[in-house]
């Protein structure tokens, strides 16, 4: 409950400070024209945030809710965020925090397993195979720990660098490379164990 507890280290990374100052932009006021700009901003970044959250949560409803929450926060701080060189990084950071918290709260005691539909079993058609592959990828991804999942998706889908991943997920830069490798190996092992093609 303490706003200024000792859990905050004195030597905070500078990017984190900037992020906090970004939050202070909530003080700025918005106007009608800002509302229009916000829609442009939303249209530009929403697909990427949705893609990320969909992979993180595995379902449309949760991804939509979390995406909405992410952009609501962006709206609250829009006057500041719009001036950022990389507002997408701010959005990814917020989306990651929301997704990790959501996954921790909802699924800490139960794994999300979305079983494959039996009717989609082995198929000889390319279309059928694609559907099976998609489900298998999604199912395997959801079996990874949320942080490992976030890391793999941020790197392999959104192309974040190791430094950016460290900043987004609040982890030491030195831990990223090992964690990325483990996440990738774990994903591939589970994917192939389930019958996914190497």
């Amino acid at each position: 409950m303490l706003p200024f507890s000792l859990t905050f280290p004195v030597a905070r990374p500078r990017w984190r400070g900037r992020f906090l100052f970004a939050l202070r932009g909530a003080w700025d006021t918005n106007s009608g024209s800002t509302s229009e700009s916000f829609e442009t901003f939303f249209r530009r970044y929403e697909p990427e945030i949705t893609r990320y959250l969909w992979r993180m949560t595995g379902d449309e409803q949760s991804a939509g809710d979390l995406c909405q929450e992410t952009f609501l926060r962006a709206w609250q701080h829009f006057a500041t965020i719009r001036s950022y060189e990389k507002p997408g990084a701010w959005l990814i950071k917020v989306a990651s925090n929301l997704a990790l918290r959501y996954l921790h709260q909802r699924f800490s005691s139960a794994r999300i397993v979305i079983p494959l539909d039996d009717t989609l079993g082995p198929s000889t058609s390319d279309h059928g195979r694609r559907i099976v592959e998609q489900d298998l990828v999604r199912e395997t991804l959801l079996e990874l720990a949320p942080r490992a999942r976030a890391m793999l998706v941020l790197r392999e889908v959104h192309g974040l660098t190791g430094n950016e991943i460290a900043q987004t997920l609040g982890m030491p830069r030195t831990a990223v490379k090992m964690a990325l490798w483990r996440a990738c190996v774990q994903f591939r092992e589970q994917y192939e164990r389930k019958g996914g093609r190497p």
């Binding site: 409950m1 303490l2 706003p3 200024f4 507890s5 905050f8 004195v10 500078r14 984190r16 400070g17 900037r18 992020f19 906090l20 100052f21 939050l23 202070r24 909530a26 003080w27 006021t29 918005n30 009608g32 509302s35 939303f42 929403e46 697909p47 949705t50 893609r51 969909w54 992979r55 449309e60 991804a63 939509g64 995406c67 909405q68 952009f71 926060r73 609250q76 950071k93 925090n97 998609q134 990828v137 999604r138 998706v153 392999e156 889908v157 660098t161 190791g162 991943i165 830069r173 490379k177 090992m178 990325l180 490798w181 990738c184 190996v185 994903f187 591939r188 994917y191 996914g196 190497p198």
Partner: protein, 263 residues
């Protein structure tokens, strides 16, 4: 057949490949690895492990939720009381409503002042505020917003510095709404109305060692230097009058100390 778990002749590990792909190697180290890569079947297999995984992800068809999210978002942008607290108007229509409400408040305020006996002191003076005793009438606040009622105001003790806080209006209680990345939102309930609450805070915040950096009729922003030698500052935003129908309810947003007092 070479497997990613085999041993590389130069002892490059899987995490080195991950570091290379994520731009975590120095330029020199990256150059050395890139010279080695075409000659090493093990490292190539590890790189393929990443690239084939990326291809799997990229082949996924992600649902298009844009319209649905935008519709819901618009609705929430225009709702006065979302969980994060309302901090500004969101549309022209809302702006007009805000102006009308503001004028109404000013009119009532002026009328109240005009009707007060001549010996009364200004409502903006802290000396006129009722002392924080149990006899003060409790604030009118939405009970649903206060599932927990912690007596007093949100904690203001400093981080890494002198424990200097500021006083809150009488009969104040609060609930912790949310926190994220060093930002803490509280809903607070105090005796009085938005005008008297903001007037109280305009007096008590400087008295607590904070510096007010911006104020409006309904908002107040203040900063406190917690560790000047390190340039750390804390910030607080106060927003009153944002919970319509509940004059005693207001928002306090604290931002934990950052490494730069002058963004």
């Amino acid at each position: 057949m070479t497997h990613p778990t085999d041993q590389c002749a130069l002892r490059y590990q899987g995490e080195d490949i991950a570091a290379w792909r994520a731009n975590l190697l120095s330029e020199e180290a990256a150059r050395r690895f890139e010279a080695h890569l075409p000659t090493c079947a093990v490292c190539l297999a590890r790189v393929r492990l990443f690239t084939s995984t990326a291809q799997l992800f990229q082949r996924q068809q992600v649902p298009d939720l844009s319209s649905q999210i935008w519709r819901s978002l618009q609705a929430r942008m225009n709702v006065p009381h979302h969980p994060g607290g309302r901090m500004f108007q969101t549309s022209k229509g809302a702006g007009v409503s805000g102006v009308v409400l503001f004028l109404l408040v000013i009119t009532v305020f002026v009328a109240v002042i005009a009707l007060r006996p001549s010996h009364s002191t200004s409502i903006t003076s802290i000396a006129t505020l009722p002392p924080p005793t149990a006899t003060s009438a409790p604030g009118v606040c939405n009970p649903a917003d206060f599932p927990t009622r912690t007596p007093g105001g949100p904690p203001t003790s400093s981080f890494n510095g002198p424990a200097v806080g500021f006083a809150y209006p009488p009969t104040t209680y609060f609930t912790h709404v949310t926190d994220a990345d060093g930002t803490y939102l509280y809903w607070v309930c105090s005796a009085g109305d938005p005008a008297s609450i903001i007037a109280f805070m305009k007096q008590s915040i400087p008295a607590g060692g904070w510096t007010i950096t911006a104020t409006t009729a309904t908002t107040l922003m203040a900063v406190q230097s917690n560790a000047p030698q390190e340039g750390l500052c804390s910030f607080v935003n106060i927003i009153v009058g944002s919970h319509s129908g509940y004059p005693g309810e207001w928002d306090a947003v604290f931002h934990s100390p950052t490494a730069n007092c002058h963004p």
